[in-house]
């Protein structure tokens, strides 16, 4: 049976190799902290059931073992955040080839260069379709149960492995060079790489600290408006604003829908709930386009594309987001009360 754990181990090993390569890079002014950052991250990926069992046998009960393990990871995350936050992850040197050499191999390899790159999305899609439409295949590979996330990740891993093998054969490079390339791209992304995960964690912390119920309390008590157009506007704009704060439309949707949508738009004005949900969620997505809190869509790509302004992608999206939000208010107003 293929388990999600194997994917984590693969990621952990890649990150540990990157860490070792970083420590050996004497051109990186902060090579020790850069390596430490990737090494700690790699170790966190190696954690699984075996660490929980080990911890439990050390401290006695499984509950206590899990708790100590989570606290240890929490401490590691804080250390990583401090390294990243105080500029401990820097660029090194990656044995890059000259412009002429690149042009020469681009001419030699021609359109074949696209093959491994396109293999990743194409194989992922074929894999997802195959697992969803060939009966018994999912059970055979992953065992019983629902594996929608794992299916995508597994198919993508196959696509990456296939693309990697073709690329190695085509370019006659050694596998270690591909790890140097991984390190080059990871260092370019730098601290932004852990931001999506830390933000998702913050979302969970928000929930257990009761931030959601505090906001619903406020919306129910202070945003109760009678005018239909104003109510529609409050719903759509509120969804976008709260998404900008929380970084995720899925976190904002229940709060605003329970606070304004259901009591006012549906129960008081008898609007169509399906229209409200569809356009409401899309209003949240307009917010996603405009916030650094949605790091994996906005901040990470800016780092990945080596843009000097980390908000450049957000700035490119704001006009689309604002205009579409205005359109959404009118669509909601006219379609919900047909």
């Amino acid at each position: 049976m293929f388990q999600q754990q194997y994917l984590m181990w693969l990621a952990g090993i890649i990150l540990l190799v990157v860490a070792i390569l970083s420590w050996r890079d004497s051109h990186n002014p902060r090579r020790f902290t850069t390596g430490l950052f990737w090494a700690l991250y790699g170790l966190i990926f190696l954690i699984g059931d075996w660490t929980t069992q080990l911890m439990s046998s050390l401290v006695g009960t499984p509950e206590l073992g899990t708790r100590y393990l989570h606290i240890t990871v929490g401490v590691l995350v804080v250390i990583m955040a401090l390294i990243a936050g105080f500029g401990g992850v820097r660029l090194g040197r990656y044995h890059q080839r000259s412009e002429e050499e690149k042009q020469a191999s681009a001419r030699r390899l021609g359109n074949r260069l696209f093959l491994p790159a396109l293999a990743i999305p194409v194989v992922t899609v074929i894999g997802v379709l195959a697992f969803n439409h060939i009966p018994g295949l999912q059970e055979a590979v992953f065992g019983a149960g629902n594996h929608s996330t794992l299916v995508t990740l597994f198919s993508m891993m196959i696509g990456c492995l296939l693309g990697w093998l073709i690329a190695l054969k085509m370019t006659h490079e050694k596998p270690v060079q591909s790890m140097q390339e991984t390190r080059r791209l990871l260092d370019a992304i730098g601290w932004a790489f852990i931001l999506p995960q830390i933000l998702a964690t913050l979302g969970l912390l928000f929930t257990s600290a009761g931030v959601g119920s505090a906001i619903s309390h406020l919306t129910e008590n202070y945003l109760a408006v009678d005018n239909r157009f104003v109510a529609v506007t409050v719903y759509a704009v509120g969804m976008a604003l709260l998404t900008m704060v929380m970084g995720n439309a899925f976190a904002a949707f229940p709060i605003i829908t329970a606070g304004v949508g259901i009591p006012i738009l549906v129960l008081q004005h008898h609007g169509d709930p399906a229209v409200m949900a569809a356009i409401g969620m899309f209003s949240g997505y307009c917010g996603t386009l405009m916030t650094p809190m949605a790091a994996n869509f906005n901040i990470v790509p800016a780092a990945l594309l080596e843009l000097p302004d980390r908000n450049a992608v957000i700035k490119a999206q704001v006009p689309t987001g604002v205009l579409l939000l205005i359109v959404n208010v009118f669509l909601l107003y006219f379609l919900m009360f047909r």
Partner: protein
């Protein structure tokens, strides 16, 4: 009963907003906001660390999709993938950055609406292929361009991928968001909706998103033409050519 609601955890949101506005490092801002929120809810330090660790462990599949393609993409870049993408787009004489991105937006949105969300993305498509092609198409028309124009094109490429994905995936019936909305309204207020209706009523917004972003891309082309033609004209004049 309402009096027991603790509003102090909202301080965490304030910490986020202030931190981002003062342009501190986002990773530090988020971690600090996490501790502020926890302390405001009277959680002990151990509990906050425990939640932080558990959350971080449970979200490990987020960076996976970014990490796995890097070895392939990096290797291909070393052997001229970007250069090849630029040569390829140069063969299409009518190509401009804006037109290329409109075609990509259309394909990305339609495939996402069919549930094929993995046919795109920043590490696999935007960095190695889309952004170099947008840059290549522009250079092909106007010659070498400044780093600022280059950065603007890259940012717009990333933005186009996001817009296509967001406003396409949500009209795919089997997408998690649709089920999520359906379940939420059923459980919280016993309001029954058809998942298909939610998907269908997303279509007007999806079309509007395509139109709005396409118009912006056409305007990007016009602005590039105006700026770069003026720049090239000035350069020619300085040389005494015309």
């Amino acid at each position: 009963m309402d009096n027991v609601i603790n509003l102090w955890p909202l301080l965490g949101i304030a910490a986020i907003v202030v931190g981002f506005l003062l342009r501190f490092n986002p990773v530090l801002v988020v971690i600090v906001a996490g501790f502020v929120t926890g302390f405001a809810a009277l959680m002990p330090l151990g509990d906050i660390l425990e939640k932080l660790g558990a959350g971080f462990l449970n979200t490990r599949n987020l960076p996976l999709i970014l990490l796995l393609p890097l070895a392939v993409i990096g290797l291909l870049e070393r052997h001229g993938l970007k250069e090849r993408a630029q040569t390829w787009i140069a063969q299409i004489k009518t190509a401009t950055a804006g037109r290329l991105l409109i075609v990509y937006l259309f394909v990305r949105e339609v495939t996402a609406a069919l549930g094929l969300t993995s046919l795109g993305g920043h590490p696999q498509m935007v960095r190695p292929l889309l952004a170099p092609m947008a840059e290549g198409a522009t250079e092909n028309r106007y010659g070498e361009v400044s780093p600022e124009v280059r950065h603007r094109l890259r940012a717009m490429s990333a933005a186009t991928d996001n817009v296509g994905l967001f406003f396409g995936e949500d009209i795919f019936v089997a997408f998690g968001a649709i089920i999520f909305m359906h379940n939420f309204m059923l459980e919280s207020a016993n309001i029954h909706t058809e998942p298909l209706h939610i998907a269908v009523w997303g279509i007007p917004t999806a079309i509007a998103a395509f139109l709005i972003h396409s118009v912006r891309l056409v305007r990007l082309d016009r602005r590039l033409a105006r700026e770069l033609d003026a720049l090239n004209g000035a350069a020619l004049k300085a040389k005494g050519g015309r």
